[in-house]
Symmetry: C2
Subunit: 475 residues, 2 copies
Amino acid sequence: MENINRLISHIISRVNINLDPVHMDVEPLVRNTVSLEKMTKYYAYYALSMGHPWYFSFKESNLSGSYFMGRCEVDRSIIHMSDIRGDELKPKGTVVNSGSRATELYQDETIQITNCCLIKTLVHNNSKNTETPEFFRILNTVAMHYSNIHGTTTEGVCLGAFATADLSVMRNCVLGDFSYVQAEDLSRTIIEPGRVWIKCGTSFEFDYTYPENVVEKYVSWTPDGKLTGAFSDFLKNRRSDFLPVYDSLAIEMPVPVPESAFVSRYCVVKDDCTIGENTLVAQRAYVEDTDMGIGSNAQENSFIVSSSLAGRDIIAHGGKVIHAVLDEKVFVGFNSFLRGEEEHKITIGSGSIIMPHTIIDADEPITIDDQTLVWGYVTCQEDLAFQSMPLSEFSTKKSFCIGRLTFNGSGAEFVEAFQHRIEHILEENGADFDGSHETMGHSQKTQRVSYNLFQPYLGGEEEGMFPAIVVGSSS
Amino acid sequence: MENINRLISHIISRVNINLDPVHMDVEPLVRNTVSLEKMTKYYAYYALSMGHPWYFSFKESNLSGSYFMGRCEVDRSIIHMSDIRGDELKPKGTVVNSGSRATELYQDETIQITNCCLIKTLVHNNSKNTETPEFFRILNTVAMHYSNIHGTTTEGVCLGAFATADLSVMRNCVLGDFSYVQAEDLSRTIIEPGRVWIKCGTSFEFDYTYPENVVEKYVSWTPDGKLTGAFSDFLKNRRSDFLPVYDSLAIEMPVPVPESAFVSRYCVVKDDCTIGENTLVAQRAYVEDTDMGIGSNAQENSFIVSSSLAGRDIIAHGGKVIHAVLDEKVFVGFNSFLRGEEEHKITIGSGSIIMPHTIIDADEPITIDDQTLVWGYVTCQEDLAFQSMPLSEFSTKKSFCIGRLTFNGSGAEFVEAFQHRIEHILEENGADFDGSHETMGHSQKTQRVSYNLFQPYLGGEEEGMFPAIVVGSSS
């Protein structure tokens, strides 16, 4: 395992140089987290579809249980049980606008991951980086468990567990555990754990930070560097359900799947579930005893248990929804954790938006009205008074404070931006597919995906490393 | 499936042009045999080991259930459930001798398979071709079920089912079903079914042809082009045992395997088996209720059932051994079929050589003495009078005829060549491993092999084709 050790040291040194301005040392984090034994245990797999351009090239990397889709490059990186999608990569010739300026892509956009260590991290592209629009770069980055990189350039970044870097350019910065940022250039910034911060130029700024000790309950670390807390416990209990999915090449769908829907062969669908037309159940999603209404999404790493989704509901990457009843077009953002109980469910009205990184851990029945924005930490109905607001009211607001939330700028622009993004997600995922080519989305385009599986070297100095691989289009 | 159809037509036209001198048309053979539905059903897999140089490059190919090992290239070919090994490829700088002349390899030897259709075919290299020693070429070749290409250049060749081209340069020729040739340049030659022909320059020539109708009993074709006969029936009954082996990624060895032995995770070992030190059980081998004595080989596509192997026994590629008791160092050649019964076993004395393509289908107990050469078709003890000879006696013979065998040249050279090859096989496979590096062979070197699995496109015009893939060393 000499070479993988050398690779880890190399990644640590590169990331640390970048993080020097914020005095961060990722060495203990990485050393405690990366289990060398696991590195030889898994097959890496990646998906090829007819609908996406792709060109994979891996070199001096450990890929572990990766899932890739779309054009990709990886160089001297550890991609441990990560999902990386490239289904919204821009083709050559696309014109991108930056303020009043415009430029055209001189080649197909490519994901580059160089000198990174990504632990169970989801990377999902829709890059807004207009500086180098041909390259979706994740350079010198360490990303801990279940973090999300959902956008563009991140250079010299350390993402904590369940942290999310959304749509953003980040540079040599640290995102604390369970923090969420959508704020472009964050050079030399440390984002504290549990902060949810969205800054869109001068239009608006949404800024919420979890009360002290709450993040710790859900995400914390043992003295020897193991991830623990309620999120981790919840995930651990469901891990074994994924074993047969990954151990077997021939998988039978456990429920009927309409032709217009996509249920990944690398997800878990168990007990009494129904899958509606135009739904998307992505790889590593977990759906148990749940009705997935027409056009709903269970995105990567989402867990939906004993719930019902009326239709066109979105459970974004890492969202958990347990004992909940969702009316139509409810959005549950990244890594949100909605936990009801059989006796006290969470009921959410149509068109409501549960902000990314929201925790609704219900001690009693909780009901959220139609068209409501919810954020922060909610354990009872009363908490909603300071952690929610009707969208119509939010749209009338300018700068204001409520509870632990500080909002600056235009509420209307904020709500509009969110609603626009939700429509975009539904459209991209094919929720409104009517049989025509124009309405096709991922659910329809990803139907006949092929998988390639790679095993690392099992011995010698290359143990745990993968061979250099190039997979190019046969055309 | 437009492109795979185009590929098939292309291969047929290329092979047919090469076979024009012998007036052969492979079109009906290929069209009846290649099942397009199957082409999307299988994962192709190939093995990477630390002990072998490799560089895989596939382009416009269908790979189906292939197994590859060692440096390789494939171009516009159909490699359907084939095994291709490259573990004896010569490295750059190797000096090869041809008579009084010598030359040095200017690059590592590479397997090239271009415009070929190989159906369940084993390709195993130890090329004797000194004309282009850098390239192990199989050009414009159609190879039917369970044929073996075990050597070097074959250009414009059609190999029938269970046919073997051993060590040889062949050019635009046809090998009939179950024929075996080891005879260098066979340009414009048709080898009849069931002929076993070994010609070594002017040293010796061994020539046996099965009686009429016997080959038909074991290998024949239905009017609609399906392979039938006793060999095929035997294999069909065991096919389902391989399903779990191929459907699962995580395989437990069903018996204890000594550290010095290699049991492929892609073989079947069932019921009451023992695996001795230094043994080799290759992928697609089938071992049932059998003792594999120290240093024994069950090579690719061999089937060993209810038998015991005392040690250092070799069951070569495609050999079948049922209800047999083998003393030490028995060699059972390519595609031989030894079928005893519980009540009347086949007993073979030490050091005996069962020639490639021998059929011993026992109607009564059959006993073969130590140090005996056996060939041809044997159903009872009496048959051995004309189908076997003590090695010591054979070594004293010059040209002679016995039964259907015609032998010319030096019996001593023939026996010596065979015994030398058997020693080489045992050595290459690590049968005499004593812990030292010098005595390591495949059994020890192949221990920690990694597997990569590829799935073909499942839809569109590329359906059944594989993406272009390059896998190169990471060093």
